[in-house]
């Protein structure tokens, strides 16, 4: 395939929006929940019987950066695709976004938080949430101010996201960090890491990574009799964490997230979502709703060529359900919040906004 310019004169009867993220694999829950947000927005739009219908197509990366370029190419090759919600994770964003940028296909991520993503000069990169440069300090602040921890161990999973976030937290905490460790994704035995935490006599542990490993790590910490507070980032904010750790071990874990508690989202999002999926909106559902809304607005405005959608997004300035949606010239939102959540009674509940 080659030329990707679309003739924008007459509005087509159908366009596609891609959802790019993990729908299967170890961190699939995160992707599934994000997708549902976007799905809701699109379903609502299609229900208004518009001239141009939108279908949501999946690009399931399994959270694996290695798969990302191939999938990106696939999306690019499909000329009906005019925008992407995602990529969901930082690692796959880094791998796929250069291709989207070259193809001029807009990507609006509802979840990728690595700060460096916006510094590559990609013209098509946007995200609707604060990055780890705000999440990290918020986590650090929570650890030092709310938990008043004196000895902190910082653990990461070596991923683009996990390591990036952990490094920021580490930097902010400074000398209270008494030990660090790196684990591997897909690992199940964390004996050496647990030993390290125990021997450091830590009163708080920060983990940068995703829920699958976090759950196992927390369980093994608890089994070893470690009582340190467990603080984690948005990658762990999923019920999958509680499944993996067990409700008892998971209890009291603190999670930060640059996302709004869904029930605080504007409009009728919360009730609509519940009605559509018969479940509470989970992490980044509302943000994904916003991301999809931007592309939907472009279609409503008759902008159905890729170039037009990019321009439209760049100039966008409207209230969304999570925040005022407006981007700076790097594609970062101008308006960010970070919340702390905690596991209480086997559920993830909002704790407080970290300012």
């Amino acid at each position: 395939g080659t030329s990707d310019d679309n003739d924008a004169s007459s509005a087509p009867t159908e366009v596609k929006v891609g959802f790019f993220g993990a729908l299967t694999g170890d961190a699939a829950n995160l992707g599934q929940n994000i997708k549902k947000g976007a799905q809701l927005a699109i379903d609502q739009y299609n229900a208004t019987n518009p001239k141009t219908k939108i279908t949501l197509v999946d690009y399931d990366s399994q959270g694996n950066p290695d798969q990302a370029p191939g999938l990106a190419k696939k999306a690019i090759d499909d000329k009906a695709v005019i925008g992407i919600v995602g990529p969901a994770f930082s690692g796959e964003s880094k791998a796929a976004d250069p291709l989207f940028n070259e193809a001029g296909l807009v990507t609006i991520s509802a979840s990728a938080t690595n700060p460096a993503l916006s510094t590559n000069g990609w013209k098509t990169f946007f995200r609707v949430l604060g990055n780890d440069a705000s999440q990290g300090p918020a986590a650090a602040k929570y650890i030092s101010d709310v938990l008043t921890a004196k000895k902190v161990v910082v653990v990461d999973d070596a991923s683009e996201y996990g390591k990036g976030l952990a490094d920021i937290v580490k930097g902010d905490l400074g000398s209270t960090v008494v030990a660090t460790d790196t684990i591997q994704q897909k690992q199940t035995d964390f004996g050496p890491t647990v030993t390290k935490i125990k021997s450091a006599n830590a009163d708080a542990v920060f983990f940068g990574g995703y829920y699958a490993e976090a759950g196992l790590l927390k369980k093994q910490m608890t089994d070893a009799g470690i009582n340190a507070k467990f603080v984690v980032g948005d990658g762990v904010k999923d019920d999958g964490f509680i499944t993996a750790a067990g409700a008892k071990a998971a209890e009291g874990t603190i999670m930060t997230c640059p996302c709004l508690p869904p029930d605080k989202a504007g409009g009728t999002f919360y009730t609509d979502y519940k009605k559509a999926f018969n479940a509470d909106p989970a992490t980044y559902g509302a943000e994904a709703y916003d991301a999809a809304t931007i592309i939907i607005s472009a279609v409503k405005a008759g902008k159905t060529s890729r170039a037009d959608v990019v321009a439209f997004t760049k100039a966008y300035d409207q209230p969304g359900v999570t925040k005022q949606l407006k981007f700076d010239d790097k594609g970062e939102p101008t308006n960010v919040t970070v919340w702390a959540y905690k596991v209480e009674g086997g559920k993830i509940v909002p704790d407080q906004e970290v300012k």
Partner: protein, 329 residues
């Protein structure tokens, strides 16, 4: 280094437990290899199926919140029976589907390896797609408890709460630790004696060395092969339960990494050698832990593999050598 010394007890304890699980799974590789000179690549999935059997058995019984010690013992027994039965059966299925025809045709060993790899994919994928597969036949609703989240971690409702019994150095030894270690040792010794002492054990060794001559001694080769797979499967099932008690969750692909490690342990100890499997497991588990204490835990697998290579350079047939024997040049 001083970190290693200070935490020696803890690193040793967790290393041994991990090693015990490696060792038990390694048995399956070692036995099948010993008899057929074939790497049973699907053995990791035999383990994985056993772990799910244990999880589901307890889920089906639906144990109450505060079981009495007797109930705990019974529940664990049920889980053990389920895990060993399913693993054993899975191993037999592997033998039937992936191996039997190829053995009869005396096909090249590599072909059997590929067949086993195919089997491994199939067994893994069936587990990972169990929601979809049951959905096809319309049973996903009924079986929801068992099939939901097919690609996610599935939690084992361990009836035995982890409790630290005593401390060695800075390591709190828990009831589960003792149980895992004890069971692994007992099973290993029992199996070793079985192979050495029993008639069937001698039959297994005979088939391993010359299957035609074994037939002339009245050894039923088919039966020996099946028994070998079965024993390997049962051991993997037991390992699966111990693994669940220690780590708490399983997953459709839980076997893969563990399988690689267990196979490494088998080779380290001397493949085809039952005692070597346990020794290899322990050495590997300890090496990973000590190594990660010295160079950082992200390097633990690298340490393990470097150690493996070094050991094989100096002892080209593993630590204990191949006990099932080699011919003269």
């Amino acid at each position: 280094m001083s970190y290693l010394i200070h935490n020696f007890a803890a690193l040793t304890g967790t290393g041994l437990i991990k090693g015990a699980v490696y060792g038990l799974v390694a048995l399956g590789y070692t036995l099948v290899y010993g008899v057929l000179r074939l790497i049973n690549f699907a053995h990791s999935e035999v383990f994985m199926w056993g772990s799910f059997a244990a999880v589901w058995a307890l889920a089906a019984i639906g144990a109450g919140p505060n079981p009495s010690p007797l109930e705990i013992a019974l529940l664990l027994l049920v889980a053990l029976v389920a895990a060993t039965a399913v693993s054993g059966a899975t191993a037999l299925v592997v033998e039937r589907v992936a191996y039997r025809r190829l053995i009869r045709l005396k096909a090249p060993p590599l072909t059997a390896l590929i067949s086993a790899i195919g089997m491994s994919f199939v067994l893994g994928e069936i587990m990972g797609l169990r929601d979809k597969i049951t959905g096809w036949v319309g049973l996903d609703g009924t079986l929801h408890l068992y099939v939901s989240g097919a690609r996610d971690n599935t939690r084992f409702a361990n009836p035995l709460q982890s409790r630290i019994l005593f401390n060695i150095g800075n390591y709190g030894v828990s009831n589960i630790d003792l149980l895992v270690l004890g069971c692994a040792l007992v099973m290993m010794v029992a199996l070793d004696q079985f192979i050495r002492r029993s008639r069937l054990g001698r039959g297994i060794r005979a088939v391993a060395q010359d299957s035609d001559a074994a037939a002339l001694m009245g050894v039923n080769k088919q039966q020996v092969i099946r028994v070998t797979f079965l024993i390997g499967g049962v051991m993997a099932g037991a390992a699966a339960l111990l693994y669940l008690m220690k780590f708490g969750v399983t997953r459709w692909n839980a076997g893969f990494l563990l399988g690689v490690k267990a196979f490494t342990a088998a080779v380290l100890g001397g493949i085809g050698n039952v005692r070597g499997a346990l020794l290899g497991g322990f050495v590997l588990g300890l090496a990973e832990n000590y190594g990660s204490a010295i160079v950082g835990s992200q390097w633990q697998d690298v340490v393990a593999f470097v150690l493996l290579i070094v050991i094989l350079l100096f002892r080209p047939t593993g630590l204990l050598g191949e006990s099932l024997g080699r011919a003269r040049a």
